[in-house]
Structures are given as C-alpha cells and as structure tokens.
Symmetry: C2
Subunit: 322 residues, 2 copies
C-alpha cells in the first residue's frame, strides 16, 4: 500500500519478481484496492500508514496496517523478508517493534548503497536516517553491521570501513566522530574490521572505502544532498539535450550516456536495508516503479536465503547492558 | 602564499584585479618567492602556514606568517579586507584572533554560496565548516548574519532563511535542530528575519530558500558532498564527450553545456565569507586559479566598501553574556 506509485507499480513489480525470479511473493494490504494481483496470495490488512503519517503513532495505533502485518509475518515465520516503498519511518518502526532488535544491537541502522560507476559494487552508507542521535558504541556497531552487509551482499572480501568527517585527521569532527575514530582505530570492531580512517563528503565517488559510517542525521543529509545534486545535474543535461537545435546530434550520445544514467539510478540498486532487526527488511525508494520493486524483492529474497540476519547478529560486538 | 597554485595564480589574480578593477591590492608574503608582482606593493611576512598545518598551532607560533600579517593589516586599518586561498582553518583563526569577533557574536561562521543556475543569485550556506559544534543561539546568529549577507551581497530583498534537517516537519532532526527551529519560529531572529522552516539535502537546487543554516559539521559534509557529486558527474560526462566516436556531436553541444558548467564552477562564485569577525575576510577555494582570485578580491573590495561588517554587526541579536 506504500509508495508514491502504490499499489499499481508495487503489485506489478511483485508479480514480475514472482514470475521471473520464482520467488514466493505475498502481498499485504486491502484486497479490494490492489487491482489485478494475478496468482499472488494476499494477506489482508485493513489499515494504511500513509507517507505523511507520524511513524511511531501510526504503528502504535494502526495494528491492522499493511506494514505492521508484514513485519508480523516475518516475525512469525510466515515470510522470510519484508519489502516496503512506503513511509520509511513507519517501515522501520514496524520492523523494530514487531521483529525486535538482534541480541546486543543498540539501535538498527539504514544501510543505503551509493552507486560507484567506477567499480562493480557500491559504497554502503549507514546510518542514512534511522537515528538522528547516535553514540560512539552505536557507530561501532554500524561499522560491524555495514561490513558484514558489504561482504554478504556485494561479496567484498574484506570491506574497508571509513568514518564520515570534515577532514582526514583524527582530530577533525565532532566529539562523537573523534570518539568513534579512537574506538575503531583501537580495534573496537574486532580484528576482522578494516578501519581506514576518516573520509569527507567529497569522497563518495573516490572509491576510498566500501562502507561509510555516520550518524543518521549526517547520513540522511549527505545522501539526500548527493541524490539531489545528481538529479539536478541530470535534469539540467536532459533539458539541454532536448533543445531543438541539438536534438538530432544528441541522439548519438544516448548509447554513451545511458550506462552512466542507469548506474546512478536509485531504481537499480534494490533499496536500502534495515540492519540490526531480527529479520530482513528492505526499504525501497518512495518513488519506486515496478523495476525498483523487482530489484528490492530479489535482494530481500537472496539475502534472507543467504542468512544475512544470522551473520549480522554474529558480527555485532555486545553493547554494555542498557 | 596559500593555495594549491600559490603564489603564481594568486599573484596573477591580484595583479589582474588591481589593473581591471582599480582595486588597491597589497600582497602579503615572502618577497623573494612571489615572482613578478608588477606594481603591487608587498607587505613582507617571513613565515607560511601550510595547507596541512594545524591552524591554531600555526597562528600561535608563526606570528610573522602571511595570514597573521594580513589579518593584522585589516585590524590596524592598513587594509579594508583580506583574501586567502590557503589553509581554511588558519585563515579563520588568524581573522578571529587578530580582528576579533563582532560585539555579541558567539562564533563566526563560514558562508558559502551554492550556485543555482535557475536564478540570478546563489543560496548562501552557513556554517560550512568553522564550528563542528554549535548551540541553537549560534545557529540563530548564523541565520541573522546569513540574511544580512544575502541582502548585502546579492541584493535579495527579504532573504528566506531555512534550517537544514532531515524532514520538513519541526519534529524532525537532532535536538539542536528542533531547538533552533522553535527559536526561529518564535521570532528569535527578529521581525526582519523570514524563517521558512526546514529544508533537506535534496533541496539545495530547488530554490526554496536564499539562506540555509546548519552547524559547521553538517554544513561541511553537505557542501563537500554537493561539490563532489557535481564534480564526479561532470568528470564522467567529460570522459564521454571526448570519446572519438562522439567528438563531433560533443562540439555541437559545447555552447549549450558551457553556461551550465560556468554557473556551477566554484571559481566563479568569489569564495566563501567569514561572517562575525570585525573585518572582511574572504576564503577562496584551495584550488583557486587567477580567475577565482580576481573574483574573490572584487567581492572583498565591494563588500568592504559597502559596509558589510557594520551591517552584520547590527543584525546580530545579543547573546547572553559568556
């Protein structure tokens, strides 16, 4: 029921994933509003938490919403994973409250792939928006979970983990960043974690790291700035390429521009992953079309089968009792 | 003496600004290392604070450095403004320690213009890196100083001031953001300040505000992410346009692409301004060429003549005694 193009594109993507990927997809929502669902089973949920609704309030009050029911299905073993293009905060809250945190995890984090056209795998940014306020212990856990995710999803053998700051030097940044730097440099993430120090906002496409760790406020601002800047420039270019006086000439460029545009398109990345909850939860872009939904469902399926959650659980160093 | 291309490009830009703009430019540095300085007077300074040096330490120890001497010249009335493409932190520290803060200003902030090709003036982002840690009172002052700057430099009649956050709603963000939002919504910036609420990272090119206020950590990450994303995409495009098979097409496109590239080029914006110190201090990009230096000197001159500092001083609401 969630997303700017729901339910049409969501249902279309779900059907496609089921047909092409042989994935057993279950739709959750109001049966009468889903249109042609084909052969897909529908788990009825009478309520909807909208894009503009308050997440915590929505999850608390709308117990029969599609998001809450989907999270319960994962909790109860009736589904291996959930995928939503709806309200990000409510998706997160549903997963957190119904599936629960993994043992020892202080707070779950949203891990978002930043495409890097210069190499075969993206850079994982986390937290890209789950927690506006973080402690250094949380950031250490984000480093651990992010490295596990980069390894599990993208096959990066020994992911390089960096901390987002405003200078390379360990003396740069907020007290939170400096404290986290000291912990990671001191081996807080365990011997398996390859900490490569600080990176800056300009380094997202420089290939310096496989995982970039930050608090959810900074991460969200950085991610949206990056997406907004690329979208702006792509839009300005498109506006130029359709001008009558260059239109014909521009057509010769298209085969060259398309691979770049595709590589940078959030539709192709398969969505963000909520790490640290006891189940697989993929958060797809609000503007997801069926293409993005197919990718998100495929990623959710593959990582559930591959045992992502168990690996994340094993990678997290225990936090002090809270 | 500062900047990646110093002293060659810096001196060239200074000479050009003096010749074309009839601006009385004084060079500060090691006379023997400046090359052909033409008719420009040189104020001798025997030391240099390098790009990689610790700012506070450098300013404290190198009292005869070009940065410290330039700031003293402004303090003593022997110059109306200083311009540097050198170590940003040391430029800031020199200005702060030698010129001093304006009365009532808690901390100065770096205001950086973000070009917006859709309109005739840029969006002013502050703080883009002076203060990793901020209080809500500081952010209110940044709003006041930023609005004065947008008015004075770009002629924006009634600048719209926004707060950078992770959602439009006043409930979104860190405690600092929420507290600042409440203060500004409550009229803390005075009746003259037009506060338009929160904006997000994706809104930098949406024209929603003339001034965007944030702490120096978030602002620096956002600015560098924005610059890095644009540079990355411009680079990828350039790589495509020089391919032999599209070269001819590319040439037809150039007259269309150039205005966009020029509008987004940090070289053309005239540099960032340190607001809140008792003097005009322009911080030019480290990679500044002579073009950027001419722009920076012209901006510094024009704003000193126009009385920017007095206006900024008048716009700042008094902070509680510290």
């Amino acid at each position: 029921m969630g997303g700017d193009k729901a339910p049409g594109e969501i249902v279309a993507g779900a059907r496609q994933a089921a047909e092409q990927g042989k994935i057993a997809v279950v739709l959750v929502g109001r049966p009468g509003e889903l249109g042609d669902t084909g052969d897909l089973p529908v788990m009825a949920a009478s309520e909807v938490i909208g894009m503009e609704d308050d997440p915590a309030h929505g999850v608390r009050r709308r117990k029969d919403s599609s998001l809450v029911r989907a999270a319960e299905a994962v909790r109860d073993g009736r589904a291996m994973a959930m995928v939503s293009a709806g309200n990000t905060g409510a998706t997160m809250a549903s997963a957190l409250l119904r599936m629960g945190r993994l043992p020892g995890v202080i707070r779950p984090a949203i891990a978002t792939p930043i495409p890097d056209p210069n190499r075969a795998w993206p850079t994982v940014l986390l937290d890209s928006g789950a927690n506006a306020e973080c402690s250094s212990q949380m950031l250490v856990q984000f480093a651990e979970m992010g490295a596990t995710y980069a390894h599990k999803r993208y096959g990066v053998e020994r992911p390089r983990v960096a901390l987002l700051s405003i200078g390379e030097e360990k003396s740069k940044g907020t007290p939170l960043v400096k404290e986290t730097h000291a912990l990671l440099a001191d081996g807080a993430g365990g011997a398996g974690l390859e900490f490569v120090g600080n990176v800056e906002g300009r380094d997202f496409f420089e290939g310096l790291a496989d995982v970039i760790v930050t608090d959810g406020f900074t991460g969200n601002v950085a991610l949206k700035t990056l997406e907004g800047s690329l979208r702006f420039l792509m839009g300005a270019l498109t506006e130029i390429l359709v001008r009558p006086e260059v239109r014909e000439t521009a057509e010769a460029l298209l085969p060259h521009l398309m691979p770049l545009a595709t590589a940078l398109d959030p539709e192709t990345t398969g969505g963000a992953m909520l790490l640290g909850v006891n189940g697989v939860c993929v958060i797809s872009h609000g503007s997801s079309t069926s293409v993005a939904v197919v990718n998100a469902i495929t990623v959710a399926h593959d990582l559930a089968v591959a045992g992502l959650v168990a690996d994340v659980a094993a990678s997290v160093s225990q936090a002090p009792a809270d």
